[in-house]
Amino acid sequence: MQKIGVFVCWCGSNIAATVDVARVVAAAKGIPGVAFAADYKYMCSEQGQQLIADSVRQYGLNRIVVCSCSPRMHEKTFRACAERCGVNPYQVEIANIREQCAWILKDKEQATRKAIALMKAAVAKVQLDTPLQPGESTVVKRALVIGGGIAGIETALDIADAGYKVDIVEKEPSIGGKMAQLDKTFPTLDCSACILTPKMVDAAQHPNIRIFTYSEVEEVRGFVGQFEVDIRKKARSVKADICSGCGICTTKCPSRKADSEFDAGLRKRGAIYIPFAQAIPKVPVIDRAHCLKFQTGKCGVCSLVCPNKAIDYTQQDEIVTEQYGAIVLATGFDLLDLKHFGDLGWGRSKDIITSLQLERLTNAGGPTEGHLVCPSTGRQPKKVVIVSCVGSRDTSGRGKTYCSKICCMYNAKHAMYIREKYPDTDVTVFYIDVRTPGKGFDEFQRRAVEEYGVHYIRGLVGKVDVHKDGTLHLTASDLNSGRQLEMEPDLIVLAAAVTASPDARKIAGLVTASIDNDGFYVEAHPKLRPVESPTAGIFLSGMCQGPKDIPETVSQAGAAAVKAIGLLSKDKLLTNPCTARCNEAVCSGCQSCVKVCPYGAIEAVEKTVITLEGKKEQRSVAVVNEALCQGCGACTVACPSGAMDLKGFSNQEIMAEVDALCW
């Protein structure tokens, strides 16, 4: 006999302030099948779970309804609690009376009535819940990290150090990412390359790490523990195993039209190039769009000068298929395209640059060997203006609404770079707010003002005019004094907003990870599961989840590694038992379900079935492979005879909920 227990949580005052929990309990007690109902201040607490366990024992409960927060929050908790006291975890239902009731409604009467309705629907469903047993699946002990910036490298190293194999896939010709482009890092002002390049070497030399550079993920199949991934190794046109990395080809290449990506467009590079001196692997790539050999058929200089005969113009893309247990996304970030910021002079003068370009101009490995110059004249600037929040905290639609988080700190850093090296150069920073939370961050920014004499002006830059002679004229407002300011800076640095990598959306589609409106990956829970995607087996590392600085990126990369290691260390995973089930007596063998299944989990099998009339019959019926089925339920609707059903979300159960809610 069914004995249902209904447990109504107050969630402190979160629920109890808006929902009359006592009335919900009273309403539950009147429902046939409900043997016990009670409320408690915090049902998820130890005492709350003890109350559930005690009631199960005392009243012989075999089904549980918890009226509480979202099942996305504590369904796991209550299922585990049920299992401990001998109730099948899949005979637990959650009525979400916090997010869907208490938090969206102000009127207590309305909220209470809705809570009762939701509770009744949950009771209606729980009555039909059948006990389910999860199956088991194996785990491939290898992880894939997509993205080879600091986040990806750190995650890969941590996983590899724990003894598991890791592959890094990086679309650029070298690992290193954006951090490799930076000059120094805040708040310590230590050289970016000096902390990053040893990590790159560690990753390259680690026996457990394989690196696929100039490669992209093409296709992802399978599920947690058993992903199968196709990696496209793009043709470098250079045989990596023979190339010694001497770089002669890159110096002799006659094509000099392509902008260097690494130097943020401040320098031209050859069609055959190594992105930067410390690149890993140190193997050049031919950019076929700019290569004379590929475009005109004439040239072939690189092939002639190569001492090892490593150039191969006939190389083709190669597809590598590999199995992984876990996938870590570390696709990083990009900077906002400033094409809509013509009012700040973007695109009208070479002396209006982004912060990333400034990094290259001050970097000893950059196009000017670290000498800060105005790109148009090559002369050292005497007056530099830095503009914060270009496209950040922007509600006008041309930028992003969020705060890019790192700009306030790097603006202070840039101002310090300049004042340190060129004390006679005047630096002014325009800002809306200075936001410097973080260890040693506020002190750092104050140092820029107090010790380095950087002018900070709270205000907006309205307009930048570029005169015929190339000089710049800037109009701004000082919000503190209310004055209009006119300035003639030699160099303007725009702190462009951070955006998600344009590839993030494509990869999200491949691994079915959730993505937000700005293109950042969504975490499973912002507080409790910040480095996991809602999709099982997919973890998030670094900026791909949202703007963050290097210390935060590295901590998150480590956290993602720990989560991945936790998964890889298991020999077996429990699978979701809410899979499709075929009623073979009714199945006509039409195979409609086979066609709609995105996982190829259903096949038609010739077998002896017992019909509804009790006769034995030999025919083809649909058989579900529970290891492959992910429980989407597409087949259940496609089935014309109603033979397919989904465990845990059966037709009957959903109908019962509909009936309860429409009563």
Binding site: K114, P534, G633, A634, I654, E657, D659, L661
Partner: protein
């Protein structure tokens, strides 16, 4: 056979009319979006009651008809944006199935704008509330639905 019980169109609207609205929400996007609406304390009417399904593709058109039959005034189905389905293709099936269902609703005696399909992602809490406010207002303006009755059960 499904027919209107009283043969009339919508009942006259009264002040106390509280539409019954069933919202089917997929687990991955829209249910999370509804949680987001709650977390951000975005108000939407109590009339909307959510049923969680793993994927919008799990929603059998029969569930929608059952809701109308049992007295729902409006049914809304929410899933991930096209291209973002957790199960890759579920919402494409939903889109086609529900388009077909909508084209038959008038024939069945239910105004077709009593059924709506909306894509709400996990990060669109505010949009979830907006969609629900808009749909509820629309259903309220349509008035009470006529119940579909199965005539075979009538004595």
């Amino acid at each position: 056979m499904l027919v209107n019980e009283d043969g009339k169109t919508a009942a006259p609207e009264t002040k106390s009319f509280e539409p019954k609205i069933v919202a089917f929400c997929c687990n991955w996007c829209s249910y999370a979006g509804a949680d987001g609406a709650g977390t951000a304390r975005k108000h939407y009417p109590a009339n909307v009651k959510i049923i969680k399904v793993p994927c919008s593709g799990r929603v059998n058109p029969l569930f929608v008809l059952r809701a109308f039959q049992k007295g729902a005034d409006g049914v809304i189905l929410c899933g991930c944006h096209p291209g973002d389905c957790h199960y890759m293709t579920g919402n494409y099936y939903t889109r086609r199935r529900l388009t077909l269902l909508m084209s038959m609703l008038d024939y069945l005696g239910v105004a077709k704008d009593r059924l709506r399909v909306a894509w709400v992602s996990a990060s669109e809490g505010a949009r979830f509330a907006e969609v629900m406010n808009d749909f509820t207002a629309h259903i309220a303006s349509l008035g009470e639905n006529v119940k579909l009755r199965d005539m075979r059960c009538r004595k």
